[in-house]
Amino acid sequence: MSGILTKLKDKLQSYRVPGYRTKFEYKWTMVVDLDRCNGCEACVVACYAENNLPVVGKRDCDISRRFSWIRIERYIEGEYPDVKVKFIPIMCQHCDAAPCELGCPVYATYHNQDGLNVQVYNRCVGTFTCATYCTYDVRRFNWFTYKWDSPLEQQLNPDVTVREMGVMEKCTFCIQRIRVAKDTAKDEGRKVTDGDVQTACMQSCPTDAITFGDLNDPNSKVSKLAKSPRRYRLLEELNTDPSVIYLKRVMDEKKGHGSSHG
């Protein structure tokens, strides 16, 4: 009996991703320095260009169906003249304990061996559970089959699937670029090294606010930045264990700062 149970367990586990929540080969991590970020949104357009994000138009924007995988959130505090505007770029946090992965009935979203939260478009049946469970509101749904006015479709990145109607999607940490880097590394018989992979947002960021790399590599830039005393993670109290690390913005928040001199 126990033999059958063990067999069954093995069988079940074989369907499950081996290495799930164990040590990953790579641990892709993004560090966002909020003190550098000036909210220019270059990352947003870069993401549109890289990942074939459709433009939905004014009406759909109005009901919050904009597609950007990365968005700049801004929080405005204080009254004139002591106004503080704070920016934060938010993309999929690739949580190690991701609520979305719990919810998906068909494993369309799951954790891969690089610590990425992967979305498999063609497995998605569209139950919306992942997006509902997501505490960062980063998931986007293909409400329609989106069309590109010809010849705009010539710009579409062939490395990234054009998603069809009824499918959930989100920031992938530019997995296609990771794949290319791994492919090259494999050809050259080495591991992917720091700097091989640049996500589209990181690449475009004029202030260098975004850094991407492997946290398992102690010498990578992200590993060093991740030790910063300014480190925090978004909504850390929810214990989702995000892979995106933010560095606190340097800013005097005390009220009346501006007018204290004036």
């Binding site: 061996q113 990425l116 498999v120 794949r179 492919d183 494999k186």
Partner: protein, 170 residues
């Protein structure tokens, strides 16, 4: 009464299979569409033993293997068998500087990220997926190219991450 039910069931089966047939119309094993030029792999790869990658030059380096460019065809056929009607067709394309609109026999949906390069580098033979092309006069599909078929092979060769979704789907 009973006949009615039976007829109804027959109708349902007919309609359903009609739909199934429509869906698989261009992706079934044995599919061998007529090509603009009646190119014979049997003559080229079989009789003359030209290696696959002499013509499909990108297979080792890229996701796609690439149809041979027209220049490559003409490289030989400027002298060989120039009077045959098929070669004349080819020469016609070349003179018009028009690429040949081959019809894909093996076509994968957009969400599959298949790369020839990795498979060739792993030592797989072209024939493992494309069948004994060197014996075919007209290329015929021998594999379903469905996910289960891919996985069977990945399991057979114990491919690292061979059953991970993101290995083929991004």
């Amino acid at each position: 009464m009973k006949n009615l039910i039976v007829n109804f069931i027959i109708l349902v089966i007919f309609v359903v299979t009609l739909g199934v047939g429509y869906l698989i119309a261009d992706q079934y094993i044995g599919r061998a569409p007529e090509q603009p030029i009646n190119f014979s792999h049997k003559i080229h790869a079989g009789t003359n033993e030209i290696p696959c990658m002499y013509c499909h030059i990108y297979a080792e380096r890229a996701k796609v293997s690439g149809a041979p460019n027209v220049q490559r065809c003409m490289g030989c056929h400027k002298i060989i068998k120039t009077e045959s009607p098929e070669i004349k067709k080819l020469a016609g394309y070349w003179e018009r500087q028009e690429p040949i609109p081959w019809i894909k026999v093996h076509n994968l949906p957009d969400h599959v990220d298949f790369t020839h390069k990795r498979h060739i580098k792993a030592g797989r033979k072209c024939q493992e997926c494309h069948g004994p092309v060197e014996t075919m006069d007209r290329v015929t599909r021998v594999a379903s190219l469905k996910m289960g078929w891919c996985l069977k092979c990945h399991a057979k060769y114990n491919v690292k991450n061979g059953r991970e979704c993101w290995t083929c789907h991004i």
